[in-house]
Amino acid sequence: MPPRRQQIKRETDLQIISDWIEPEARILDLGCGRGVLLEYLKKTRNTYGVGVDVSPPKIASCVRRGINVYHGDASEFLDEMPDHYFDWVILSRMVQELSDPGEIIDKALRVGRHLAVGFVNYGFWLNRWSLLKTGENIRNEVYPEPWERSHRGNPVSIHGFESFCQRNNIRIRQHAYLKGDWRTPISVLPNLLAGYAVYHLVRE
C-alpha cells in the first residue's frame, strides 16, 4: 500500500527543506501544524525554532512536543519581529491558504534571510484534466472534498508562482520539482508534470 498523502507531504518538506538549512539556524515556521518539521530540525540540526498556527489542537500538540509555538495570525506575528531576525522562514503548504499571500511573502523576506516555500502545483496535468473533463471543481486525492465542504483556498501553480517572484524581485536560489507522487524529482515541463514544488527564495 502506498504511504498516505499526508505522510508523503511531511517527508517531502522535511527532507528537502532540512537539506537547505544549516545547523543552529533560527527558524520560523508559518503554519507549523503539529510542529513535526520544527521538531525534526531541532533534533537533527539543533535549530532554534518558532511555529505559528491558528488551530488550538495544533498549538497543544506543539506544546506537548516542546516546540515554541505562537497562537495567532502569521502576518501580525511577522510585524512584531525585527528585520532578518530569522535565518529561515518556512511556508510549507501554507501559501495556498492565505488571503494576499504576496504580502506575507514580502514580510517573510523582511523577517527572514531565507524563505522556503512549498506548495501543491495547481497546474499539474491531473488537475487540468479534471477541470477539462468535468468543468467542475477539481476532485482527486489532493482535493478530496466536494465544493460544499471545501474551505476557502487560494491555489497556485508553478508558473504563477515563479512569475510572481520575477515581478517582485525575489530570487529563486534553489528549487525542487516533484512528480505527482511528491517524491520523484522531475525537471521537464514542471508546471504540467510536477505535483509539488519547493523553493528557496531570497530578496534580490
Binding site: 533560527r26 488550538p56 497543544a60 506544546v63 497562537h71 495567532g72
Partner: protein, 396 residues
C-alpha cells in the same frame, strides 16, 4: 449596609456556580486533594522592600500538596491573584462549603498533578490571609501597621516567596511557577529575578504592565474605599473598616473579571422573585450576585491590603525606563507558556501576546496559546478542558 445585604438566600447556588470552581468535581477530574492544612513560614532576617523601607522579618502563610521527590526537583509554585490566597486546593475541614480557589486545576491526576509535583502556594507579602501585611501588628507600636506598612511591589512579593522556598523549604530549584492575573505578574518576575532557579513559567491572563483602563478601574476601587468614612485614613480597628467602600470596590472589580457575554449567558435580565421590594433593592439577579460578591468579600478581605495590592498592580511595569520589554525578558532562562483568553478585556490577549513577542525577540523558548472562552478575565479559574490539556502538556 442594607443596600449590600443579600436579599434572597435561595439564590446562593447561582453565586457558587458562576465564578468559583465547582464544588463537586466533574468527570475528568480524577481525584480531590481532600483535607489540607496551612502553615506559617517566618523569616527573622530583615526584609528590604523595593521602596527602601524595611521590616525586621515577615511571615508568609502557605500550603503544600503532594510530596517533594528525592532530588528536590518537582516543586511547583502557584501565585495567586489580587483577591486570592494560599488556599488553592482541597478543604480545611469537612464543613467547608468551598474548596481552594484552583481545586479544579490542582490535585491527584489533575493538570497540576499532586501525584507528580510538590505544589506550594503562599499568601503574598502585603496580604491579609495570614501573611504579613497592613493589618499585621507592628511590633514597634503594638498596633496594626495600617498605612505605615511599606509600599509593596510585585517584586517584593516574589522576593518573599523566594525566601520561603529556599530558606523555608530548602529548595534550590523550582520546576515551574504558575499563576494568573497578578499571579502571572509574579510568574514573570520570578523568571526575571531567579532565572537559574525556575525552569518553566506559566503566566495566564496577565500583562507586563497594565494599560490606562486597568489603572482606571483600580483607582475607582481605591476611591470607593478611601471615601468611606470608616476607612479613617487607614487607621480603622482590625476587624472593622470601610465595609461599604470595600464591597463597592469588589463589585466593580468583579465586573471587570467577567465579560458582557458571560454575564448575559449567566443572568441576562432574569429577576429575583418578586416579593414586596423597594425600587432600589436588588431586582435583577446580576445585582443580587454582585451584592453577594461584595458582601462575602468584606468578610474575608482587608481594605488596606486591597489598596496596597491594587497599587502594586498599577506600578508593575516590566517595560522599564526605556519602554523596552526585551531588557527584562532577556534575563529569563525558563521555558515559558503564556496563555491569554479571548474574552479577557482586563488583561486582553494583546498584552499576553506582547509578553511572548518580547521573549521570542530575545531568542527565548516561549509559546503563546489563546483560549476561546466567554467568561472574561476569570476564564483561567473555571472548568476549561482546553486549558487543562495545555497545562498538562507544558508540565510533562
Amino acid at each position: 449596609m442594607n443596600l449590600l445585604r443579600l436579599g434572597q438566600l435561595s439564590y446562593l447556588w447561582l453565586f457558587a456556580s458562576m465564578n468559583e470552581p465547582p464544588i463537586v468535581s466533574t468527570v475528568d477530574q480524577p481525584g480531590d486533594i481532600g483535607l489540607v492544612e496551612w502553615k506559617d513560614y517566618t523569616s527573622q532576617e530583615v526584609f528590604t522592600f523595593e521602596c527602601g523601607s524595611t521590616l525586621p522579618g515577615f511571615t508568609l502563610r502557605y500550603e503544600t500538596y503532594g510530596r517533594l521527590n528525592a532530588d528536590r526537583s518537582n516543586a511547583i509554585l502557584i501565585c495567586h491573584a489580587l483577591s486570592g490566597d494560599h488556599h488553592c486546593a482541597g478543604i480545611h475541614s469537612m464543613k467547608d462549603r468551598k474548596t481552594g480557589w484552583w481545586d479544579n486545576m490542582i490535585g491527584p491526576g489533575k493538570p497540576i498533578d499532586t501525584n507528580r509535583f510538590f505544589v506550594i502556594c503562599s499568601n503574598v507579602l502585603g496580604g491579609c490571609q495570614g501573611s504579613t501585611g497592613p493589618s499585621s501588628i507592628n511590633p514597634e507600636t503594638g498596633d496594626a501597621y495600617h498605612l505605615d506598612f511599606p509600599v509593596v511591589s510585585v517584586r517584593d512579593m516574589v522576593r518573599a516567596q523566594y525566601r520561603l522556598l529556599t530558606d523555608g523549604l530548602g529548595l534550590d530549584t523550582v520546576f515551574a511557577v504558575v499563576g494568573g492575573s497578578m499571579g502571572g505578574m509574579q510568574v514573570l518576575q520570578w523568571g526575571i529575578d531567579y532565572p537559574h532557579v525556575v525552569q518553566r513559567l506559566l503566566p495566564l491572563a496577565t500583562t507586563a504592565r497594565q494599560g490606562a483602563q486597568a489603572i482606571a478601574f483600580n483607582e475607582v476601587g481605591r476611591l470607593a474605599i478611601m471615601q468611606d468614612p470608616d476607612w479613617q485614613n487607614g487607621a480603622y480597628p482590625v476587624g472593622e473598616g470601610p465595609r461599604v467602600g470595600l464591597a463597592v470596590a469588589r463589585m466593580m472589580a468583579h465586573i471587570t473579571y467577567l465579560s458582557d457575554e458571560g454575564l448575559e449567558e449567566k443572568f441576562g435580565r432574569s429577576r429575583v422573585p418578586a416579593a414586596a421590594r423597594d425600587l432600589f433593592a436588588a431586582e435583577f439577579q446580576v445585582e443580587s450576585y454582585l451584592r453577594y460578591q461584595g458582601q462575602s468579600f468584606i468578610n474575608r478581605f482587608d481594605a488596606n491590603t486591597y489598596l496596597y495590592l491594587s497599587k502594586a498592580l498599577d506600578r508593575f511595569d516590566l517595560y522599564g525606563p526605556d519602554g523596552r520589554l526585551e531588557d527584562e525578558m532577556q534575563k529569563v532562562e525558563a521555558r515559558t507558556l503564556v496563555v491569554g483568553f479571548t474574552s479577557d478585556w482586563l488583561f486582553p490577549p494583546s498584552q499576553n501576546r506582547a509578553i511572548t513577542h518580547a521573549l521570542l525577540r530575545c531568542g527565548k523558548d516561549a509559546s503563546y496559546a489563546e483560549i476561546d472562552m466567554s467568561l472574561g478575565h476569570d476564564s483561567f479559574l473555571v472548568h476549561a478542558p482546553e486549558l487543562y490539556e495545555l497545562v498538562r502538556s507544558f508540565l510533562s
